[in-house]
Each structure stands twice: as structure tokens, then as C-alpha cells.
């Protein structure tokens, strides 16, 4: 945005901001200031609204009063027509910020005699401009004069003079014109208004209508050359250039649960960010709606309001189906926390659907919006419009910090969204079928999740009667297994483990036995040794006694023979020994 503003100031051609969403971006700052711009298109394409918005925004936002010269509708009709957009023309007129003038030309009241000019119109316009100091002028639709006044030659020259005069007057003018056969306008107004030409178009392809805007010509300025889809919504005219998405919304770092504990764990243990855009894509029957129901259920349980846009199923059917997996949405609906909005976009048309969504969101002020499924916005070949529309909507929801949960039905494995909106998505869950061993199982993984460390694992996704469960898949040397293959594999592993456990037990028992045997042996040896020891000690004692006795005998004998033997040990002469001998 800032860059664009800078760019527009560099340009030499002064421009006048229209205030119309998206248009100022593709024109690089609005329509040429002080010059007339031609806005043409077929009936009902929004020319008058375009012009009116230009004036109202000028008067309200840019302090540029404006004159609306209406050739087709009366002042009253004009005011009534734009009341629904929240514009109070009567007040603007009273505040001298706008002049409405209905130029009424009745052919049958007019008789033409001789030469004349349109000075009356000039005076009228001049007076209106000067009375409020108008900077903007709308002539809607000046071609009506051709049916009211008989002489086209005079008209043509007068129109040329009028546009010249408007330029000299320095007002930024919008001239509207009805689209003609082979020409941009029925009376060839593009000949006179050559500075900027914008064509509006209302097309119906494959039963769905889209409005488009194209800048055919913009003298002295670059401009977006594409056909841009535009819509007329609650807030008025809105052109949808892809790049003009406002990115100034506040960002919340609050985390909210997905309603599935295991999924929260996968999302950095905390769940989604508040105000983020979550997309679940997958083929038919993989459980996208169940995930949205889980999320809605969790949000309601937190006391948050949820707006559920059911684009294909009826609310009753959703409630019944979700009851089967143990989610009771009815209770929240009764408490007023959950509101279903069930209408097919084919019923409304994209544009009106967006308007209806805006209205529903503004009325209910939810914290969570569920769109199930996104794919029903695509009807035929309107992908581009659908994308722009979804973008606008997502943008609108994001600005309001509303968490968005969208599902998308894909047809193939590689077809992630169908509409290329991946850049919008903050958290993207992918559900897919895993066919293996003659059965189909659901697998889920996180394709991306901005701003959090998330799991890279595939989880088996199971719908049980008590909600959604995420299971680890079997990852082993034989690859990733799910469903009964996983169960068989797991059972097989269990049996193997049992066998191994038994073996270990056996070995331990054998060891125990051996230990016991050895211990017994040790005990026996010990006993044997002890017996031997006692015997030996006894012998030693006996021998000692015998020796002493012998010695004593010898001493005694020597004493008897009165021999002179040297008694070496006094011990032997102790009375004790004598005692013993005497004993």
C-alpha cells in the first residue's frame, strides 16, 4: 500500500482517488483529476453505483464535494437506491457536500424550431458546481439526451463543448454510457471522452454471473490491463485485484485447540493460532466434515460463537452424522453458540453469497467460521472469481481476527486445492486414503502450519463413536502400515516378543538352578573341610601331649638316675608338669 502511494505521487498525472475498494490500486491512484472519465457498460452492470460511490467517497473522505446530474433517475430514487449501502444522500445535500439534479427530458413535450444550444444545461451545471464548490461531477447517463432531443447533430457538438468545458472548469467528471452494438457506448461518447475509459461488464457463464471491470484506456498513465472481477456487496462496489489484499490486520499469538488432543500435539502441542486460516483438504469421505465438527465443538465448549456455513449438507444431516461419532452439536445450537448458515452458492451466485456471508458474520459476530466445503464455490470455470472471492472473504475474516476453518474436496492425489489459494492458508491439514491390504484407511498429516513447530508424521485418522482419534501408524522395515495390516503386524510382533520373553525366563531359571547346585557343593566341601580340620587339630594336640609326656618321662628318668642332663625348658620343671606326672 505504501509503495503504491509513493508511486502515485511520483507520477506527473494528477489523479483523483475514487475510494472504491481495489480500483485505486489498479489505476495507481484513481481516475485522472480534472478530466472526464467514461464508464460504460450494459444495463444493470453498476455504472450508476460506480459513479455514486465516486461522489459519496469524494464528499465524505476526500473533502471534494460533488454534483450528480441524473438523466434517468429522480433525486428521490437515487437516494433510496443507495440507502442500503449506508449512504445518506439527503444529509450530504443538506451539508452542501453534494448536489443532486435530475434532468428530465420529455420528448413529447418538446417542439424543436430552429437553432439552439445546450446552454441551459451548462448554466444549470455551472450553478450547481459553484454553489458548493464541487470538484467532482457525474453525468448519468447523458446519452438519454439523444432520445429526448431531436437533433443529434446539435447534441454531438454540444457534448463536445460540454466535455471541453468540464475540463476547463477543472472538475473530475464521470460520464456514464450504455454499451452499444460494436461500440463502447451507443452514441460513441468515447470519441469525446478520451482520457480514461472504464468498461463494466456483467456476464453469465454456466449459469453463474460475474461482474468484471476493465480499464480500456488511461491516457498518460499505466494501469492494470486485466479484466478484474468486481462485486457489489454490502459496503458497495469492490474490485478484486489479487494484490490489493490488506495485510494490516493484527495477529494473535493465542492458540486454540483443534478439538483433537493428538492433533494439538502435532501442532506444536498447542493447536491452531487464533485468527488463522485452517484448510483441510482431501478426497471424498476422508472425514473433513468430522474435523470441522470437532473444531466447532471445541470452540463452543470454550464458549466461543461459531458460524457454520454448510454449503452442501443440511444442518440436520450434519448434526445427525456428527452424533454418530459422539459429537453433539445440537446442544451448542440450542445455547446459541452455534449457527448454521445453509445455502448453496449456486442458489445465490458467488457475489451475493459473499454479501450474505458478510452480513451473517456481521450479525452474529462469531469467533470461528467454518466453511464446508470450499469447493462448492467453483461452478464451471469460475476458478478465478472463486479465488478472488475467497480471498476477499478470508481477508475480511482475518481483519476481524476470526479463525477460519475450511474444508476442500479434492479429486486426485496431487490436486491439493483446485483453487490456488495455498498462499492464504496458515495451517493446512491433508487427509488422504491409504489403500493397503484390501482396505481403505484414513491418513492425516500436516502439509504446512505457519509459525509453529509441527509434526511431520503421518497419523492414522480414525472415526470412533467417541470422536476422532489419531493413531500412530506402524512404521517399520516393511514401510508404513495402517488399519488391519497395522493390527496384524502389531499382533505378530507381540507374539514374537512373547516368545523372546519366555526364552529369557527359561535362561534365568537355568541360571538359578546352577547357582543352587554350586551353592550346595560349596556347602558340602565346607563341611568336609571343617571335619578334616577338627580331626587334624585333634591329632596335633595329641602329638604334642605325647611329646611332652615323653620329655617328662626322660626328665623323670634322669632324675631317677641322678644324671646331669641340661634341662632346656624350664617349662618342663614346672610343678604343673610334676602335677600332671603325679596324676
Amino acid at each position: 500500500m505504501d509503495k503504491k502511494k509513493i508511486a502515485s505521487t511520483i507520477q506527473t498525472l494528477p489523479k483523483s482517488l475514487t475510494g472504491i475498494q481495489g480500483l485505486d490500486e489498479i489505476t495507481g491512484g484513481g481516475i485522472p483529476k480534472g478530466r472526464p472519465t467514461l464508464v460504460c457498460g450494459s444495463a444493470g452492470c453498476g455504472k450508476t453505483l460506480f459513479a455514486m460511490e465516486f461522489l459519496v467517497h469524494g464528499a465524505m473522505m476526500y473533502n471534494e464535494p460533488g454534483v450528480f446530474l441524473a438523466f434517468e433517475e429522480s433525486e428521490k430514487d437515487l437516494a433510496v437506491n443507495v440507502v442500503s449501502l449506508g449512504y445518506d444522500l439527503d444529509k450530504l445535500v443538506a451539508d452542501k457536500k453534494m448536489v443532486l439534479d435530475h434532468v428530465h427530458v420529455e420528448r413529447k413535450e418538446i417542439e424543436e424550431t430552429g437553432e439552439y444550444d445546450l446552454e441551459g444545461l451548462f448554466i444549470r451545471l455551472n450553478y450547481a458546481i459553484d454553489s458548493i464548490g464541487a470538484k467532482r461531477v457525474v453525468l448519468d447517463t447523458i446519452e438519454t439526451l439523444f432520445s429526448g432531443l431531436p437533433n443529434p447533430l446539435i447534441l454531438r457538438s454540444e457534448l463536445r463543448r460540454l466535455f471541453q468545458w468540464l475540463k476547463e472548469k477543472g472538475v473530475t467528471a464521470i460520464v456514464t454510457g450504455e454499451r452499444g452494438e460494436g461500440t463502447l457506448t451507443r452514441q460513441g461518447l468515447e470519441e469525446y471522452v478520451s482520457d480514461c475509459v472504464i468498461v463494466l461488464d456483467h456476464r453469465v457463464t454456466e449459469q453463474s454471473s460475474t461482474r468484471r471491470l476493465r480499464i480500456v484506456k488511461y491516457r498518460g498513465s499505466t494501469h492494470g490491463t486485466n479484466e478484474y472481477p468486481f462485486i457489489i456487496e454490502e459496503t458497495g462496489f469492490s474490485v478484486l485485484p489479487i494484490t490489493s489484499i490488506g495485510q494490516e490486520h493484527t495477529v494473535s499469538s493465542e492458540r486454540i485447540s483443534s478439538g483433537i488432543p493428538r492433533l494439538d500435539t502435532m501442532l506444536g502441542s498447542k493447536g491452531y493460532y487464533r485468527g488463522s486460516i485452517v484448510l483441510v483438504s482431501g478426497t471424498a469421505g476422508v472425514g473433513k466434515s468430522s474435523l470441522s465438527a470437532c473444531f466447532s465443538d471445541a470452540a463452543c465448549a470454550r464458549g466461543e460463537k461459531v458460524l457454520y456455513f454448510a454449503l452442501e449438507e443440511s444442518p440436520r444431516q450434519i448434526k445427525r452424522n456428527m452424533r454418530s461419532i459422539g459429537i453433539d452439536l445440537e446442544q451448542w445450537e440450542k445455547k446459541g453458540l452455534l449457527v448454521f448458515h445453509a445455502k448453496r452458492p449456486t442458489f445465490y451466485g458467488l457475489e451475493s453469497y459473499l454479501t450474505a456471508m458478510h452480513k451473517a458474520v456481521n450479525d452474529f459476530k462469531p469467533m470461528v467460521v467454518v466453511i464446508d466445503p470450499l469447493s462448492s464455490f467453483i461452478i464451471g470455470t469460475n476458478q478465478f472469481e472463486a479465488k478472488s472471492m475467497i480471498m476477499r472473504m478470508v481477508d475480511f475474516l482475518k481483519i476481524n481476527n476470526i479463525s477460519v476453518f475450511m474444508t476442500h474436496l479434492t479429486t486426485g492425489v496431487n490436486d491439493y486445492t483446485g483453487i490456488d489459494i495455498s498462499s492464504l492458508i496458515d495451517t493446512w491439514l491433508l487427509l488422504r486414503d491409504i489403500e493397503l491390504g484390501g482396505e481403505r484407511n484414513r491418513g492425516m498429516y500436516i502439509l504446512k502450519s505457519r509459525g509453529m513447530a509441527h509434526s511431520n508424521q503421518i497419523r492414522e485418522f480414525k472415526l470412533t463413536d467417541h470422536g476422532v482419534e489419531l493413531l500412530d501408524v506402524y512404521v517399520g522395515p516393511e514401510g508404513v502400515l495402517t488399519g488391519s495390516s497395522r493390527i496384524t503386524k502389531e499382533a505378530k510382533e507381540k507374539a514374537e516378543q512373547l516368545l523372546r520373553n519366555q526364552e529369557i525366563e527359561n535362561k534365568q531359571l537355568a541360571l538359578d538352578r546352577k547357582r543352587k547346585a554350586i551353592n550346595a557343593q560349596i556347602d558340602f566341601l565346607k563341611a568336609e573341610f571343617e571335619a578334616e580340620e577338627i580331626e587334624t587339630l585333634k591329632n596335633i594336640e595329641l602329638n604334642k601331649l605325647r611329646e611332652n609326656l615323653l620329655l617328662q618321662d626322660r626328665v623323670d628318668m634322669a632324675i631317677n638316675r641322678k644324671g646331669d642332663i641340661i634341662i632346656k625348658t624350664s617349662k618342663l620343671h614346672k610343678p604343673k608338669g610334676n602335677d600332671a606326672k603325679t596324676k
Binding site: 424543436e112 430552429g114 437553432e115 439552439y116 441551459g120 444549470r124 450553478y127
Partner: protein, 117 residues
Amino acid sequence: MKNRINRMSDEALEFEQAIENAESAIYHLRLYVAGTTPYSVMAIANIKKICEEYLKGRYELEVIDLYQNPTLAKGEQIIAAPTLIKRLPLPLHRIIGDLSVVDRVLVGLDLRKAKAK
């Protein structure tokens, strides 16, 4: 307006009556001009001549300069200049141009039946 409703029954007769009425009714005419352009001068001269010739003594003519009364342009739904408005008798008619084609002016003033129409 009543004339118009009854017209279906006997259009020719009604028309004759209208012309008869026109011959006696008071005419209230306003000529709006834009300053003193040649068209204005021509128109003023022409209408004066026509009035004197066809409506002598039973007409009121106002000549208004739009430059001096710009609000009247809106109020009277004027876009072309000069514009002559026949305010009375009804129906209201606008005659635009310099009034140089007398026949057509008379048709516009309901003083003569239109030939080609």
C-alpha cells in the same frame, strides 16, 4: 388532463374543441434565453412577432435570462437555450430553438394541428 382521458371516445371532436379553446384562452408564456447570443435575440424577436400575430391581447410573455437566474434552469428543467415554455393553457409544452420555424411554433402552442405527425 381531462381532455386526454376522454380523447379515446372522439378524438377528432375533442381536438377541434381544444383548438377552439385555444383560440379564446389566455396564454402564459415564458422564454428562457442565455444572455444575448444570436439565438436569444432571434428567439425574442420571433416570439414577439408570433404573439402579436396570433395571440394579440390574450397573452403574457416573460423573457428570462438564465445567466441572471441560474436556479430557474433546474426548477424549470431547462437544458436547451432558448426554450419557450407554454405554461397555460395546459398541456405544458417546451419549444426549443430560435423559434424561426413559425409552423412548428404554432404546433407547439397548440394553435395549429401538426401536419407530419
